[in-house]
């Protein structure tokens, strides 16, 4: 969960990381009560990058210009995202700009400090000077000085920059964050430093134990857009519901297809989709109802998720054939079959499924024969072999064509 710039800066302020005087602007008229002297920078508060180049950042000299600029920015989408608020901030004359970040390195399995003597929007230039320090053991400020020296800093700037890094690291650890980034860190002619822009990403798994962070991010309602691509979806299918105990179900629509795919497990879903593509089929929507091993998922919970999943995927009117591929173990396969049978009867009787809607259940379970029994009155094909299930699915698709 990415925080907006002004939210990140609230956290910076708490940690005594220097930021400019600023004010949140909810509507253009707020600028009449501005407490910061002009000139002022107005910045679109969106999560997408590239707002500067897109016109989402404007310098203004007086109230009239400011209100006009705010109106423009409020109506300017950045990569499809409209700002709900703007940030009005004092102007700063940076002599130089640095880049600093704290992030988790999955391969090192440690937090790392990143720094570049060049900051700002020219990513290539920033990267060229990028330096890295792995925080092996418990953090101590010398890790930050190590980075400052690798960045090529000298004299008082070593301490000034490592002080900022230390506070960024503390913020990172105290709030369980995925990322704390300052870009750029402005450096004045006299060697003072100032966080001019900041990015903070909360960790979805950890945020629930930081009520202050939950409060901060729920102040605004605009959420990051859902990326429909499967590359993301294999990780993003389940997103923690803010108040619920279990990950939400999210439907991923594909394009031009007519096959629905519902699996338990992301890898199993990918394999099933692969086999459909290899057989010449085209998915319409796909859904992962979750690995069987997810914490606290009692059989009841997985049955409930299957029922909700069926409802969700059959809402997609492009789905003509639905392939359900389940490995059932702790959750007995026959109970899942009962859920499918009940769902079918309920929906079919109410004519909420098209007459030619077809369903294939591929089930791996020690209760396979009991599952068969449960489904005997439903027009649901049940098979145990995966390739066979794909074959039958493709047969149904072709029979409809």
């Amino acid at each position: 969960m990415d925080l907006l710039e002004y939210q990140a800066k609230e956290l910076f302020r708490e940690m005594d990381i220097p930021v400019l005087p600023s004010q949140r602007i909810d509507r253009p008229t707020d600028l009449k009560g501005l407490k910061i002297p002009y000139p002022v920078v107005l910045k679109s508060q969106v999560r997408a990058g590239g707002r500067g180049k897109a016109g989402g950042v404007k310098f203004v000299e007086n109230t009239i210009d400011a209100v006009a600029a705010a109106q423009t920015i409020f109506h300017l989408p950045i990569v499809g995202e409209y700002p709900e608020v703007l940030l009005a901030e004092a102007k700063y004359n940076a002599d130089r700009e640095f880049y600093l970040a704290v992030v988790l390195d999955a391969s090192a399995r440690r937090p790392i400090l990143l720094g570049s003597k060049i900051g700002g929007i020219d990513a290539e230039a920033v990267m060229e000077q990028m330096q890295l320090v792995v925080v092996d053991g418990e953090f101590s400020p010398f890790y930050a000085r190590r980075l400052a020296l690798k960045m090529g800093l000298e004299g008082n700037l070593i301490q000034a920059v490592s002080d900022i890094l230390e506070k960024m690291y503390q913020l990172f650890v105290q709030r369980d964050l995925d990322l704390v980034e300052i870009n750029p860190l402005g450096v004045s002619a006299t060697g003072e430093v100032m966080a001019l822009d900041g990015k903070v990403t909360a960790n979805d798994d950890a945020i629930a134990r930081h009520p202050d962070l939950v409060k901060l991010v729920t102040k605004t309602s605009n959420r990051p857009k859902m990326n429909a691509s499967i590359a993301q979806s294999s990780r993003m299918t389940e997103e923690k519901a803010a108040e619920g105990d279990f990950p939400m179900l999210t439907l991923h629509p594909a394009r031009d297809g007519n096959i629905g795919v519902l699996c338990n497990g992301a890898g199993l879903l990918l394999t099933t989709l692969d086999l459909i593509y290899l057989a010449g089929g085209k998915p319409a929507s796909f859904l992962n109802i979750g690995e069987a091993i997810l914490q606290a998922w009692t059989p009841t919970v997985l049955c409930d998720r299957l029922e909700r999943g069926l409802e969700l995927i059959t809402r997609d009117k492009n789905v003509e054939v639905l392939l359900i591929n389940l490995h059932c173990h702790a959750t007995a396969g026959d109970r899942m079959a009962v859920v499918i049978a009940e769902y079918w009867q309920k929906r079919a009787s109410k004519a909420r499924l098209p007459n030619d809607f077809k369903m294939i259940l591929r089930l791996v379970s020690s209760e396979f024969s009991r599952a068969q029994e449960s489904l005997k009155d439903c027009p649901v094909t049940i098979v145990e072999n995966l390739e066979q299930a794909i074959h039958q699915t493709m047969g149904l698709v072709k029979s409809k064509a």
Binding site: Y99, V103, L104, D105, A106, S107, A108, R109, P111, I112, L114, A123, E124, V126, M127, E128, M130, G137, D176, D178, L179, E181, K199, N203, D205, A206, A208, R209, S229, I230, A231, Q232, S234, R235, N264, G265, A266, G267, L268, L270, T271, L273, D274, Y277, L278, E291, A292, I293, L294, Q295, A296, T298, H327, H329, A330, V364, S366, N385, L386, E387
Partner: protein, 304 residues
């Protein structure tokens, strides 16, 4: 690596719904579950397994414990794992999912300092078919044999084992290392262990083209250090995916505002993973049925 049938096993979080269900299933499979731990439930029994309030209480009663399988809620995981390590347990399997990554960083540090093997989190654990099951694997899908499987997926692990079993190919050991960004033990670590395992004749790597997994690293490691035949299956090779950033540290690349700069190549992450296996001439299957064929080929080549 100690996965004999008589290895002593503890279940932490045994009164949790999943813990209770899987303790019973493991016991049924023949795993020597000697005790469960759930604070506040000391003195009770779950499926005939005595429950203690603290790990260290179980040891004087049951003797030294080899492995703990943990089912506690995610925010209690770090403490439970540290408790097990402090009590001298050196093999830990974490089924729990949703663990804050920085908790894993702390756990990995302590595991390294104490030479503790950590499997998971968010994983089905380990099965040695016919001998012992440590986690959530559905035992009836497995067959004793000589193929080792290392997987970073969940139910897809079961699928692959099941297809091998159906083809008459048994497994020496199957381990799900977990699919979270930070896992306790890596593909490479397990490749090493299976390379040294006398019961394993071929090793199967199961991964995904996308995701956090270190399949690419595994490919390089196989080329460098593994003598036994290794075969890989990556799910997602035929499913269109968005272009991904090409930096090794995926998690970094996906979050930094300067990520564009981190791009070394412009192709998919998928393509890079696939290329890593091809480059080292490691057989790579694009569907389970192909995997079966490749495994058969490797095993028969080895017999000659």
């Amino acid at each position: 690596m100690n996965f004999d049938p008589d290895t002593k096993v503890l279940v932490q979080g045994i009164v949790e719904p999943l813990g209770s269900v899987h303790a019973a299933l493991m016991k049924e499979y023949g795993t020597n579950i000697v005790a469960g731990v759930s604070p506040g439930y000391g003195g009770q029994e779950v499926h005939g397994i005595p429950v203690f309030d603290l790990v260290e209480q179980a040891i004087p009663v049951m003797g030294a414990i080899d492995t703990s399988i943990i089912f506690v809620p995610p925010y209690e995981l770090l403490d439970a794992a540290l408790e097990a390590i402090a009590a001298g347990i050196r093999q830990i399997i974490i089924v729990t999912t949703g663990i804050p990554p920085l908790d894993m960083v702390q756990l990995v540090r302590q595991a390294e300092a104490t030479d503790t093997l950590v499997v998971g989190p968010n994983c089905p654990g380990i099965i040695v078919p016919g001998k012992i099951m440590l986690g959530t694997h559905p035992g009836h899908l497995y067959l004793p044999g000589s193929v080792g499987i290392i997987s970073c997926t969940g139910t897809l692990t079961y699928e692959i084992a099941y297809e091998l079993t159906q083809a008459g190919i048994g497994q020496s050991i199957v381990v799900g290392i977990g699919s979270d960004a930070i896992v306790g033990s890596s593909f490479s670590q397990w490749l090493q262990m299976l390379d040294e395992d006398e019961h394993t004749e071929a090793i199967v790597i199961v991964g995904e083209t996308g995701g956090n997994g270190a399949e690419e690293t595994a490919a390089h490691y196989i080329a460098e250090a593994i003598d036994k035949p290794a075969i890989a299956y990556l799910a997602g090779q035929h499913t269109p995916q968005e272009k991904r950033r090409g930096h090794a540290a995926t998690l970094i690349a996906s979050k930094l505002s300067v990520k564009e700069g981190l791009t070394e190549t412009d192709d998919w992450g998928a393509e890079r993973k696939i290329q890593a296996f091809k480059q080292h001439k490691i057989p790579l299957a694009d569907r389970p049925s192909t995997l079966i064929k490749l495994v058969k080929k490797a095993l028969s080549a080895r017999k000659k």
